[in-house]
């Protein structure tokens, strides 16, 4: 039971015995068993076949816990951005003569939870599941996830029992980063359950540090320690990890305060001070995860076609004020990467909150007090990673008004925004808005920048919803894709990012710090600078 709860029980004196009586069985018993109960923000349990839905929260909860990829995220440090490390592949290299050919040396001695062996045959079988529509194990939902996140896979082959090759459609130096999103399931278990992915979902088998031991539809999923995990340093300290889908933030908060769970994702920002006062731990992780207004640049009549207008609105965002309003569960964003990181580069514009400069830029562009800019922003009331969009957007509406922007909102439900994101900004699905407020997935590496801004990735065929095309930026992306030198990739990425900041296709607002609240019993958690987190070092202390 958390410190805060203990304090309250003392405070209410005589009620304590009643409280303890009624809550028996709800709170974690003080036994040797190590059980961590987490309330997720997802509205359902993410699919457990190794190709989870529910976005990146699915990968964090039922993805990287039960499964591994060839390449993994290194989530062991809190003091630097999470980078990649060997997973089911111990090493990889680009073919010396062909930059589109990647060779992966597989890890020896890895077993799936069912006892079958991971080798080149199992790896190829999984790649066929995602990329070969003619294979019996092809799964269109999983394929859609994999092909969306790793669209560059062209072909693959077994070289020997522990070596495979993957060929890409074009050279891409960041290809290993993309492979973190492709997870490997057991062919033996798939056969055992009759070749059905829905049957596999109920009895899954991966190579990950946890194995699934209980599944209550729409209520909870229980993962237990995999004692035989191939990485002895990452054998979980917990006996069991129980995940609950709990989309309502107030419900998560009540569940934490009443001792039903030990850890909640995304506590309501206004509850953070009181939680801290009651002795709960609040953790945040600072990494690139932008909450922006993505501008519609496909509209040729938009005032935002003028870069000065785009810069003007970026100079009229009170990022510090907004972060403060959110009790610092967010921090200012001046680009998609953060100042101080190698990839941030040296943009000419450092967007401080400077209404005078904003008005000057607007005046240069032909706008002023008598000719204000009307704009409509698509927002939601909630949704994965959207933080608390209504008060945040109202704050921004008020702030940018003083510079000459009159903002109206087109409020839609989350599903409708996903549909709009899939289509062009001038399609009917976008309701003619000038910008979309969608929190976008974590962008800790250069591949994510290419995904959202490269000129060939325009919606509806890619994630460049804004339809921003900059030849200099694209040329740098082309150059870094074929580079084999990591330092050069970083240098070129930084130059590209500087162009992105100066040309401002988005209004950069804040980075989500991914706040979590947990009882003081939760120990050992390393808040990695990433959307993803490692549950293996966590343990419970009375």
């Amino acid at each position: 039971m958390g410190k805060g709860i203990s304090l309250r029980v003392r405070k209410f004196g005589i009620l304590s015995s009643t409280a303890m009586f009624f809550s028996a069985g709800l709170a974690l018993p003080a036994t040797a068993e190590q059980v961590l109960r987490i309330a997720m923000t997802a509205s359902d349990i993410p699919i457990t076949t190794g190709a989870p839905d529910n976005g990146y929260e699915g990968l964090r909860s039922t993805g990287y816990t039960i499964y591994d990829g060839l390449v993994s995220w290194d989530l062991s440090r809190a003091d630097e951005l999470a980078d990649i490390r060997p997973g089911l592949a111990t090493s990889w290299r680009q073919d010396e003569d062909d930059a589109t050919r990647w060779i992966f040396e597989l890890r020896e001695g890895v077993q799936f939870h069912d006892g079958s062996t991971f080798d080149a045959d199992a790896a190829i079988w999984n790649l066929e599941r995602y990329y070969d529509p003619d294979s019996p194990q092809y799964e269109d939902q999983g394929a859609a996830q994999a092909q969306a996140r790793v669209p560059l896979v062209d072909s693959f082959e077994k070289i020997d029992d522990m070596t495979i090759a993957i060929n890409t459609t074009r050279p891409a130096s960041y290809f290993p980063y993309m492979l973190t999103y492709v997870l490997f399931s057991s062919p033996a278990r798939f056969e055992e359950v009759g070749g059905s992915w829905s049957a596999f979902a109920e009895n899954p088998s991966g190579t990950g540090p946890f194995r699934l031991t209980d599944f209550q539809t729409r209520q909870s999923v229980e993962l237990s320690r995999n004692e035989d995990y191939w990485d002895p340093e990452r054998v979980p300290k917990l006996d069991r990890l129980i995940l609950y889908p709990m989309p309502e933030s107030t419900t998560r908060l009540a569940a934490l305060r009443s001792g039903q769970v030990d850890w909640i994702e995304v506590p309501p920002p206004d509850a953070v001070p009181s939680l801290e006062g009651l002795g709960f731990q609040i953790t945040t992780s600072s990494y690139p995860h932008v909450w922006p207004w993505a501008l519609n640049l496909q509209d040729q009549d938009s005032p935002f076609q003028d870069v000065r207008v785009r810069q003007a609105i970026n100079y009229c965002i009170d990022r510090e004020g907004l972060s403060s309003l959110l009790n610092n569960v967010a921090e200012p964003s001046y680009g998609i990467f953060k100042p101080g990181e190698d990839l941030f580069g040296e943009p000419e514009n450092r967007y401080s909150f400077d209404p005078d400069k904003s008005r000057e830029l607007l005046a240069e562009a032909g706008y002023g007090p008598d000719d204000r800019i009307d704009m409509t922003v698509m927002i939601t009331a909630s949704g994965s990673g959207q933080m608390t969009p209504i008060p945040m957007n109202e704050f921004l509406q008020d702030t940018v008004s003083q510079c000459g922007f009159d903002v109206e909102f087109e409020q839609v439900e989350w599903g409708s925004m996903l549909v709009a994101l899939r289509n062009e900004p001038m399609s009917d699905m976008a309701f003619g808005v000038d910008a979309m407020n969608m929190s976008l997935p974590p962008s800790t590496d250069v591949s994510q920048m290419a995904l959202y801004f490269y000129g060939q990735n325009l919606a509806p065929n890619g994630r460049n919803w804004s339809h921003w095309v900059n030849e200099d930026f694209d040329a740098l992306i082309d150059e870094l894709e074929v580079s084999r030198d990591p330092e050069e990739v970083t240098r070129l990425g930084a130059e590209a990012h500087a162009i992105l900041v100066d040309d401002a296709p988005w209004v950069f607002i804040v980075h989500d710090l991914n706040a979590r609240a947990m009882t003081s019993s939760v120990q050992g958690f390393v808040s990695a600078q990433s959307w993803f987190q490692d549950f293996t070092p966590v343990y419970m202390e009375d």
Binding site: F22, Q260, G415, L418
Partner: protein, 313 residues
């Protein structure tokens, strides 16, 4: 009486077909489809189109409708487009979960509402009437999801007496610990039926009290208890009809109350299906709920007709 019941059941068939058609058309007015929600935006178009074909979304709407109707008539509710689980499994489990809180809430609401309404009418104009009527109006007027949040804030987050959310593992509650999970949602859900039944019963009893047969019964020497039986006999049919509607609403699952308590019932199932554009789940859920609603009303009609022979005409 049997002819009356058969007639009512036959009326239900066009109603259910109408409901299913309406739902099928309505969900297509919402932007996008299940594939838009299911897969990331940058998934290749070919993959998206393959998925649409697998779900039959590439067919004209009327073919999709008749295919679905044909399956339903054969007892096949289909497969969820989102998680590949049989719709029937999720649907009936969810309905059972909702019934766990809806049925007790209806019983409590109906009983309390009837008692409060009758007492308020008998003591019309007195302070008791004021108190009972205020309780009833509060039950109708207060947003029940707000009441739920307040109850959680007091009894869970504040005093840690009851669970804040979720259903206890194990299905039907057999232990006190499992029952504790029911208390707050049932209390919240019972407010509305308690309020509306109380208001209706008060008005009906007042009207009956003003009718000539009441003094006539007294004049014949009948004691108060005997008169009360006659009054209840006359006031019951409209209260029963309203209770049928209320129970139907409750079994439909209050989306907001189930969201507040994170209850895995039919309300949250429908909410998920709407957000995911999961047509098989949404269509089947609404059809089954409509069938339950119609069935409850038929039962109420029959009960009313049994109590009051004038209704059989």
């Amino acid at each position: 009486m049997i002819a009356f019941a058969i007639r009512r059941i036959l009326y239900a068939i066009p109603i259910l077909i109408g409901v299913s058609l309406f739902v099928f058309i309505l969900i297509r007015l919402v932007p996008g489809d299940v594939v838009d929600i299911l897969i990331p935006p940058e998934a290749p178009r070919r993959v998206a189109e393959d998925l649409r074909a697998r779900f039959g979304l590439d067919q004209p709407v009327y073919i999709q409708y008749f295919t679905w109707l044909q399956r339903i008539l054969m007892g096949d509710f289909g497969i969820s487009a989102f998680n590949n689980r049989p719709v029937a499994l999720d649907l009936f489990v969810s309905l059972g979960n909702t019934a766990l809180i809806a049925v007790p809430a209806a019983i409590i609401g109906f009983t309390l509402g009837s008692i409060l309404g009758t007492l308020a009418a008998f003591f019309r104009g007195s302070w008791l009437d004021t108190i009972f009527s205020s309780i009833a109006i509060a039950g109708v007027s207060l947003p029940h999801y707000w009441v739920g949040i307040v109850l959680v804030a007091i009894f869970s987050a504040g005093y840690n007496l009851l669970p804040a959310q979720g259903m206890a593992p194990g299905g039907f509650p057999t232990t006190w610990q499992q029952v504790t999970h029911l208390i707050l949602p049932v209390a919240t859900l019972s407010l509305i039926p308690m309020g509306v039944i109380s208001r209706l019963v008060r008005a009906n009893v007042l009207e009956i009290l003003s009718q000539e047969f009441v003094p006539a019964l007294h004049g014949k020497g009948l004691l108060n208890r005997g008169v009360l039986v006659h009054i209840i006999h006359n006031a019951a049919p409209p209260a029963l009809a309203l209770m049928g509607l209320q129970l139907g609403y409750l079994l439909g699952g209050s989306i907001l109350v189930e969201a507040v308590f994170n209850w895995p019932g039919s309300g949250t199932l429908m909410q998920l299906a709407i957000f995911r554009r999961d047509i098989p789940v949404l269509s089947a859920t609404i059809l089954v709920l409509a069938a339950i609603f119609v069935l409850l009303n038929i039962l109420v009609d029959i009960m009313q007709a049994y109590i009051d022979p004038r209704m059989r005409r």
